[in-house]
């Protein structure tokens, strides 16, 4: 039987959740025995080359490209997991929610302390640039999400336990310490 295939991506996140994936340390050797990776920063495959079993999403959706990638993941993965605070709730990027987009962009490109060289007040508008959404959306408001792994970042042990349980079909036993944050 072929190995289950995993894809991962970081949308509006900080890559901290991916760092946490790497924090499984030497278990990564066991992981590649268990699964195959497809589209993911881990192997740098940029586009889906086949249907996957598990898609792991870090980050919420703050721009049109995030939405596009997320929908691609839904199409190409049987199971989608929201990994971490930003994917689940929008996280830190969602702090702009409630502030008009215009104000955010003007602060970022015109008014901020590090943009003194932009004296002509240029607003980036290359056709290749994705558009910022009216607010940052958690993934489950855009597509169906099957599982949620909380944390900022979720602990490596939690990610390991969840992925192994999914792949092996064993019961998931998560000690309370792995999902409590106070």
């Amino acid at each position: 039987m072929s190995k289950p295939i995993i894809a991962t991506t970081s949308l509006a996140g900080c890559f901290g959740c991916h760092m946490s994936i790497l924090d499984i340390d030497d278990r990564i050797l066991q992981l590649i025995e268990l699964v195959e990776f497809n589209k993911s920063p881990i192997d740098d495959i940029k586009t889906f080359t086949k249907q996957c079993d598990i898609g792991i999403i870090e980050g919420g959706c703050c721009n049109s490209e995030n939405v596009h990638v997320l929908k691609e993941f839904r199409k190409n993965c049987k199971i989608l997991i929201s990994l971490g605070e930003c994917a689940i709730m929008g996280g830190l990027p969602a702090m702009r929610n409630g502030i008009p987009v215009k104000e955010c962009l003007e602060e970022a490109y015109w008014g901020g302390p590090t943009v003194g060289l932009n004296t002509e007040k240029i607003m980036p508008n290359d056709p290749e640039l994705p558009m910022i959404l009216d607010k940052v959306y958690p993934c489950h408001e855009i597509v169906k999400i099957d599982y949620y792994l909380p944390g900022c970042a979720p602990r490596a042990d939690l990610i390991w336990a969840a992925v192994v349980a999914l792949v092996t079909g064993d019961e998931l036993n998560i000690p309370y310490e792995l999902v409590k944050f106070d």
Partner: protein, 597 residues
């Protein structure tokens, strides 16, 4: 500015506990409480700026940005919307060329929405600089805008006056009482002082016993036995306080407004009786800011009562001292919760306290305090005059006396009705001339949405308890959109944000019902709303979060087909709309939003 603010602060004895009054005066004077004003207030009160800011930011009648010279607060509650609020709002926007939430370029007028202002029997209504304008129409709005442009004083913009004390030269308000039915306890003929003089002739314990025996229970809606509350409080040591909760913010309630207009002395007399019973020297009437137009009337009644020796020192020659001050809120529904009300009266954010200790043990200024509803104090005054047995004989065995109801919505005769407890909803509907009724919202948004099949139920604390709000919803209404969504928007706005679940779930529930109303809902959304409502109910500190999901849960229970007709039975459906989501950012750079589908 600095000197002026020093004077304002000095007028309130440089007392940080009077911050609400100080902010209120500064707001009226400058149309805002600016950063500069905050610094000056903080300096004079010797508190930090953050302490001032946190109170200012809590109440929606205090603003950091300057409001217009005329600040229009239009009520967008359910009944206002039923009676044509959107036309009125549209006319304001058209006439002034600005949207709600904005101010005209010349700074003359700003437009704001506000929650129920206690005028549900004469909506749509708006408050402009503390003056109330009722039964608005497009024509009336055009006239108001013309008057504002002409620089007319707000009081001069009122051309007709209401009945009773509304027409009193010191009030001159167009608000109508609409007293449709009087009852024996509160709205019957009344002579000030009879109850108090009898009380002062009795031992304070005997007064409490009288109230206990009368079966009087709190008229704010919770129905806690009044005598028991007084008894608990009287047992505590030290200074005691009496507070009257006149913050009626439950959408659809307006009876306290009428009682304070026509029975203010009865309310104050009841407070004095309560004070004598528990041993208090000071009382506070906490009045919602929306009723500021009554200020002169209430102050006048207090002055009269002092001159008749019914308040002040050595009342009626019995050696009892008690006086009352009026404390205004500044627009926050949650302040109707008694511990939040106390916090607010102390000049702080109106965030409910953890209980216990209850206010009867540790209330205003940390001292034992009774907090009772306006109507409860009225009833207490009458009970001391006519006796416990007389009161006990009215109503039902578990709910003695009468209830003053505020009835509004789709009926011929909205207004105030004082009825003995125990009347059925269908009898009530006949009385107010309501036919073709889809539902009755009993006890406001935090109560229940009652279907016709249950109209034989009784208005009584043991069956359908209510603080007085009764909204009749006709068959032509879209119950989920016009009522449930409006209520959830209200709760999402009014949650104080202190409890995480209340802060977030009210918003989430509002978004979910919106998703259903807009046709994007699925069956799972209904199940989710039920489950989340249960979590919200169990995990919040005060009554707001414990009841704010009721519009959803009671309609899911009683009007399930309305939901089923609107949702799809699919596994997942998003209401995300890319072209809408990028409208703003595309506008900033001048791109078309179409290409991002």
């Amino acid at each position: 500015m600095k000197e002026k603010i020093s004077r304002i602060v000095e007028n309130f004895g440089n007392d940080a506990a009077r911050l609400m009054d100080i902010l209120s005066e500064v707001q009226s004077e400058y149309g805002c409480v600016s950063c500069e004003a905050v610094s000056a207030i903080a300096e004079n009160l010797h508190i930090s700026e953050v302490d001032v800011i946190q109170t200012r930011s809590f109440y929606h009648f205090f603003t950091e940005e300057q409001v217009g010279k005329y600040a229009v607060y239009l009520n967008n509650s359910v009944v206002s919307c039923m009676n044509g609020m959107s036309d009125v709002a549209d006319e304001f926007q058209k006439q002034l060329g600005v949207k709600f939430g904005q101010k005209t370029a010349d700074g003359l007028v700003s437009l704001h929405y506000t929650a129920c202002i206690g005028m549900s029997d004469q909506e749509p209504a708006a408050i402009i600089n503390d003056v109330v304008f009722t039964s608005l129409t497009r024509n009336k709005v055009a006239k108001l805008v013309a008057d504002m442009r002409a620089g007319k004083a707000v009081n001069d913009m009122v051309t007709e006056f209401g009945d009773g004390n509304n027409a009193n030269p010191i009030v001159r308000s167009m608000v109508k009482n609409n007293i449709m039915k009087t009852g024996p306890v509160v709205l019957d003929a009344y002579e000030v002082g009879l109850g108090l003089s009898k009380a002062l002739g009795m031992d304070s314990k005997a007064v409490i016993k009288e109230v206990l025996d009368s079966g009087l229970r709190g008229r704010g809606g919770a129905g806690f036995p009044t005598g028991m509350k007084w008894e608990f409080c009287s047992r505590e040591a030290g200074d005691h306080y009496v507070m009257c909760n006149a913050d009626e913010g439950e959408p659809g309630t307006f009876k306290d407004r009428v009682l304070l207009t026509e029975r203010a002395s009865m309310v104050f007399e009841g407070m004095a009786i309560g004070a004598y019973a528990i041993g208090a020297k000071e009382g506070v009437l906490y009045l919602r800011r929306e009723y500021k137009y009554m200020k002169a009337l209430l102050e006048n009644v207090l002055t009269e009562m002092r001159s008749e020796n019914l308040l002040g020192n050595n009342i009626l020659g019995k050696g009892f001292n008690f006086d009352i001050r009026v404390q205004f809120g500044a627009g926050a529904y949650v302040c109707g919760e008694e511990s939040a009300l106390i916090e607010s009266a102390e000049g702080k954010r109106g965030e409910p306290r953890n209980r216990p200790p209850f206010p009867a043990q540790k209330g205003y200024k940390g001292k034992p305090t009774i907090v009772n509803n306006v109507e409860t104090f009225c009833a207490a005054a009458r009970i001391l005059d006519r006796g416990a047995a007389w009161h006990k004989a009215i109503g039902t065995p578990e709910s003695s006396g009468t209830k003053v109801l505020s009835i509004s919505g789709d009926c011929n005769a909205p207004g105030v009705y004082e009825l003995p407890w125990g009347m059925s909803i269908s009898e009530m509907l006949t009385m107010v001339g309501a036919s073709d009724v889809q539902a009755v919202q009993v006890a406001g948004p935090s109560g229940i949405c009652l279907p016709p099949a249950q109209f034989d139920r009784k208005i009584a604390l043991e069956d359908l308890p209510t603080g007085g709000s009764m909204i009749v919803i006709g068959n032509k209404r879209d119950l989920l959109k016009d009522v449930v969504l409006n209520f959830m928007e209200f709760f999402a706005d009014e949650s104080c944000g202190s409890c995480v679940t209340c802060r977030s779930f009210n918003m989430i529930l509002k978004n979910s019902i919106e998703k259903v109303v807009e046709g994007h809902g699925i069956t799972k959304d209904i199940d989710d709303m039920s489950a989340w409502s249960e979590i919200l109910r169990k995990t919040t500190r005060c009554g707001l979060g414990q009841t704010s999901s009721n519009p959803i849960t009671t309609t899911i229970k009683n009007f399930r087909p309305l939901y089923d007709a609107r949702v799809k039975n699919v596994e997942y459906q998003s209401d995300f709309d890319m072209s809408k989501a990028v409208v703003e950012s595309c506008a900033v750079v001048g791109r078309s939003a179409e290409i991002h589908e």
